[in-house]
Point group: C2
DNA sequence: TTTCATAATTGGAACGTTCCAATAAATCGT
DNA sequence: ACGATTTATTGGAACGTTCCAATTATGAAA
């Protein structure tokens, strides 16, 4: 029966050494698995540790070698399932590499973001994956270069910062989904949601414009509406667009959340989405699949992006000399019902 | 212009002391703010730290005083928005208290859960908030008592473990929503979703039974169906219940996710939810509000629970002698459309 | 001034670990 | 049975901080 050290929980390597009749160096050796230690000795030490309830003190260890195997994961909006899934991907890879993620949510606050990154540095994080809060300036990240901390920017590209980057193929994805609508015969297509200052919006809107121009569609500035990237934002923007004299027949939304808000607004105006109007989103969150009618959108595989981000960061930690590297994750079209393609096919067949 | 220590990022308290012309003890004093140090000296030291790009080494500090101001947050399912919101509440309170949350996702794996909690201990976490993975046994938590680590179990009660607990009022909540259906005149009511082994289901189902019995309704065992607590699970269970000869007229679901799956199944069978059949959920996730028809459910305020959990844990950390304390969060009925109450009211009026 | 109290500052000894160089023990070839 | 290797083990000096006791500077009271 293991009689755990009761009160203080302060069993050190030295006490283990004494109890096992070896030196602290030997205990350290079995702990790190580095040197050559006789199997029986190792065994004995191991069970002594178990018996006394030893717990490794990483703080003390890091003091010597600064190899903390801690990675910080800074998220701008944990309440968005997209980032939660991204985090899951990151954690999965880190775990396999024996690292541990130190996760924090900034809720789009740069102040909080600074605090949190400082904390992580103080705890000796070897690297940080940052999904930057909305108005993060590149100079907020200067410390990383100076301190030699591996830093990777994810999801939201940060113009002017020369770090590694992992982002989805926003431009191509938006271009694809727009072309899909064009192929379905739509002429007047709106782009809706997100604020102009967001890099992600600029990219997606850029893809939209590219597809429109490539097909010779005219671009009506009245059909480009900003909104907060929330359900309510989407609802509001869609309501605005529907009050226009010359309504669009299709709408490309900044993301799924906005698109779902837009669908609600359309329904409220008595329109049947997928028949009277086409609405498409971006991200393919799990909601997209389950909303009714199911949302046509662009899938970007957040888990995969997370895995990639973690892998890239680890690479950078292990080889600090390596220069910044980028990964642009694929974005593929997921055709469901909200664009009306299915109904159109039915009609064609019938 | 701050000329940051370039390469190693290894500026120590001693270098600051030298550069500022004081002793390392003085620097430590301004760092901790404990002793009395002349304002001008403090100022000078502070700006020297800034100039040299000093970063505090918490590992070294913790070596002496073991006051790590780290709290572990172990979540069983980050992809569930409910837990993401819970985490937000926890973080908010911890942040204000100057603590930092060390968050990890176990994805319902006890093995991972053990790993993660070990990591946290090794990093000197002063306490842990645990949302236990599905088949966590109380003895998995014995180390906490032995090591004197504050431990709080949240959301899923863990029978047999005598830790502090923060959970929603599952029984009362389920009872309330069931009574609501009974008041609307329903006789045959099903309970659907969740696995029998889940404590949360036992509590919610218990509340359901209590309300049914209190109103003299007979309980048909065929109307109690298990399923995985997912959308697909809800879909399957609802399909099963609809193939019964004697269908229920109302369904209480284990949670919102299950309920939304059930709604989909009902629609697929040609039923109009809220008119032909009543469906209610539990949790009031943001989806509940936005699904169509909007889901009648029980709100449990995950952010509030998180805040409470953090506050309780902090209290426990500051007074380790204090005994386990529990908080049962309120659960109130949120009436929307899926239960048909609105339509019924309209009909009565018209 | 001198004398106290109090405010500021300081050197050195921890804290729990890893690393290094050194020693001790086992194994080998001859 | 002897050095020569190789394999196991070890003491002690770091690592960057905090704390304590001791010291020195500052003011106020005498």
């Amino acid at each position: 029966m293991p009689q755990l050290q009761s009160s203080k929980g302060k069993v050190t390597i030295i006490e283990i050494a004494d109890a096992a009749g070896v030196s602290k160096s030997t205990v350290s050796l079995v702990l790190t698995g580095r040197g050559a230690v006789k199997p029986e000795t190792r065994q004995h030490v191991l069970q002594t540790m178990d018996r006394l309830g030893y717990v490794y003190n990483r703080g003390a260890a890091n003091l010597r070698n600064a190899q903390s195997r801690i990675v910080g994961l800074v998220l701008n909006d944990l309440s968005n399932p997209f980032f939660a899934e991204f985090a899951i991907g990151v954690e999965k890879v880190l775990q396999m590499a024996g690292y541990v993620a130190f996760m924090a949510n900034t809720a789009e606050s740069v102040v909080r973001q600074d605090q949190v990154m400082r904390m992580m540095r103080e705890h000796g994080a070897g690297g940080i994956i940052l999904c930057p809060a909305l108005d993060t300036r590149p100079e907020h990240l200067d410390w990383a270069k100076a301190a030699g901390t591996a830093l990777l920017v994810a999801i939201r590209r940060l113009p002017g910062a020369d770090t590694s980057v992992v982002v989805p193929e926003n431009l191509v994805g938006a271009s694809r989904v727009t072309r899909h609508l064009i192929n379905l015969g739509h002429e007047r297509i709106a782009f809706l949601g997100g604020m102009h200052s967001m890099v992600v919006r600029q990219e997606r809107h850029g893809g939209f414009l590219a597809a429109m121009e490539a097909s010779g569609r005219s671009i009506d500035p009245a059909l480009n509406l900003e909104s907060m990237p929330t359900r309510d934002g989407g609802f509001g923007a869609m309501s605005a667009v529907l009050s226009l004299a010359d309504r669009p027949t299709a709408v490309v939304c900044y993301n799924d959340v906005t698109a779902i808000g837009a669908m609600l607004a359309a329904a409220r105006h008595g329109l049947v989405v997928g028949r009277d109007i086409a609405i498409v989103g971006f991200d393919d969150t799990s909601e997209a699949r389950h909303v009714s009618p199911a949302l046509t959108t662009v899938a970007v595989d957040p888990v995969g992006l997370g895995e990639r981000a973690a892998a890239l960061l680890l690479k950078q930690i292990n080889d600090p000399a390596a220069e910044a590297e980028s990964f642009i994750g694929p974005a593929h079209l997921v055709i469901r019902e909200s664009c009306g393609a299915y109904q159109r096919a039915l009609a064609a067949a019938g």
